[in-house]
Point group: C2
Chain length 316, copies 2
């Protein structure tokens, strides 16, 4: 199986009763500043504050009743963990979440708040994978990977189905890329509906493994990335890499300053709270690293989960 | 003339081509926290980031062409100044704005950015009124008071027309009160459409002049109020006071801590940027100073203009 437009359309039907159809916002100040007409798909207003709910919800509701009764499991300390916990809670099944024992308290609380059953482990990839495997064997829970999972990719693509239904004449669409689940789903939906549309990925210069992967024709791992965009630290997966190779025109890398400036501008002018990973996609326009002047450009604002006590601009 | 529902309905038609029809948002976490079903009317997403654009726009477009050619004028250093400047710019007429010479640079820049012609004066009420009167005599500009003006009151009421069109079965509606323009318009619209609806005002305990005015049956001036809600420092006006006496069930005063907590909760959970004055209305529910449990409550989020460098919670 490879993910197709039809999968994304079925995912959209499947998650419709549970996920928000998020609004598309426009902002004249932003348009003037970047010289394009920008359509912001507000996944920061999605359930759990991030697009991740779409993929997790599609995975949970794709299970047969027999499969579902054993629950789902994943390892994640981020938005995917919260998303999977909430989707499982909605279906009334357990969600087992493996988290590193050094995860911030606020993230532990969030997952627990959605009813996730947390198992802590040492903060290494090996420990996380071993712990997850043990839980899978003990419970029979279905593993839902944060991005390297076809059900998840199809779910993430539903944001662009909605965006293109609301704004059908977009010339280009930009999504941030970490593991590549969102950008994969975005590209399949967008190219499927509109073959001529330009699909661009956005990532921090400080975590430019996706850009290098596409250039080198192999998955270049992300090694110790240091960026404010903490949702984009992961490497591409075996499923997402070939999808991006096929569909994505270019991965554009943006500076840390560009991310912060774009984020602050959106807060100040559009009056919405976006997280740094969302701002990465806006920063492609902000820094004008690629010529999109005069075009209609969709931007997926991936989420709005930030620690208000640690903002990347001067405090009081 | 006194302002009626019909005036507000005409104002709505008049400003329709220029103002945003703002969304109404709901948030499950907020509902759970306050024990009511809350409908947030997002005037933070209005042009210039505040409901003030509605009143200013209605005033500007109420003028005949003959009147309009002399422009408009006001004294204000807040959202009304920006709103009037933008509305005048849209109509292609001058806006003369009197501002105290100690106004923050960011506010001067904002007014100038919308094309307002600024005249600075000493930061006293007498100097502001004298300067405004001189400008009026010299230019023939029409004075548009920030709240004690029937055109402005009618314009502000249009937010509630939209809110009740989108959510017709509200039991109550809460708006913040400073000079009383928003609450006056809100109350006339709401009571006009739905006589049984409860209309509540919200103000800071540290600036509770409206509450005291209604209790004492006379306009009690606001004297040196110290509150984070800097949009609510003014006293009621001769037009707004009797409207509130007639329509408003109660003015509820909230604590500074309640304002900050409600504001932070809305940013964190609803992912929208609201200013402290907006949070005052949310805080009525937050602090449960009045029993609204189980009811459907509309809340006018008055605006979203904040200095991101001076947030009222711990910095990084």
């Amino acid at each position: 199986m490879t993910v197709t437009l039809a999968h994304i359309q079925r995912a959209a039907e499947r998650i419709k009763p549970y996920a928000h159809r998020t609004p598309v916002m426009t902002n004249e100040s932003l348009n003037e500043r970047v010289g394009a007409r920008v359509y912001l798909k507000c996944e920061n207003l999605q359930k759990v504050g991030a697009f991740k709910f779409r993929g997790a919800c599609n995975a949970v509701y794709s299970l047969s009743d027999d499969e579902a009764k054993h629950g789902v499991c994943t390892h994640s300390s981020g938005n995917h963990a919260q998303a999977l916990a909430l989707a499982a809670k909605m279906r009334g099944i357990p969600a087992h979440i493996v988290m590193p024992n050094n995860a911030p308290q606020v993230k532990k609380d969030a997952v627990a708040g959605y009813g996730g059953r947390i198992t802590f482990c040492e903060p290494t990839l090996e420990a996380r994978e071993n712990t997850l495997e043990r839980i899978r064997l003990n419970t029979g829970a279905n593993v839902v990977h944060p991005y390297n999972d076809e059900r998840v990719i199809a779910g993430q693509g539903t944001a662009s189905l909605e965006l293109l239904a609301d704004s059908p004449d977009l010339d280009a669409i930009i999504a941030p890329v970490g593991g590549g689940g969102l950008l994969s789903g975005t590209s399949i939906a967008a190219k499927g509906l509109k073959p001529g549309i330009r699909v661009l990925g956005a990532e921090p210069e400080m975590a430019d493994d996706a850009q290098r992967s596409l250039k080198e024709g192999r998955i270049v791992p992300s090694v110790n990335p240091k960026t404010i965009a903490d949702g984009l630290l992961t490497s591409l997966g075996s499923l997402t890499f070939p999808i991006l190779q096929q569909n994505v025109e270019q991965i554009v890398a943006v500076s840390e300053q560009g991310i912060v400036d774009a984020m602050k501008f959106i807060w100040e002018r559009a009056k919405i709270v976006i997280e740094p990973s969302s701002a990465v996609a806006v920063a492609v326009l902000w820094e004008k690293k690629i010529d999109l002047s005069g075009l209609k450009v969709g931007v997926i604002l991936s989420g709005g989960n930030v620690d208000l006590g640690k903002l990347p601009w001067g405090g009081k």
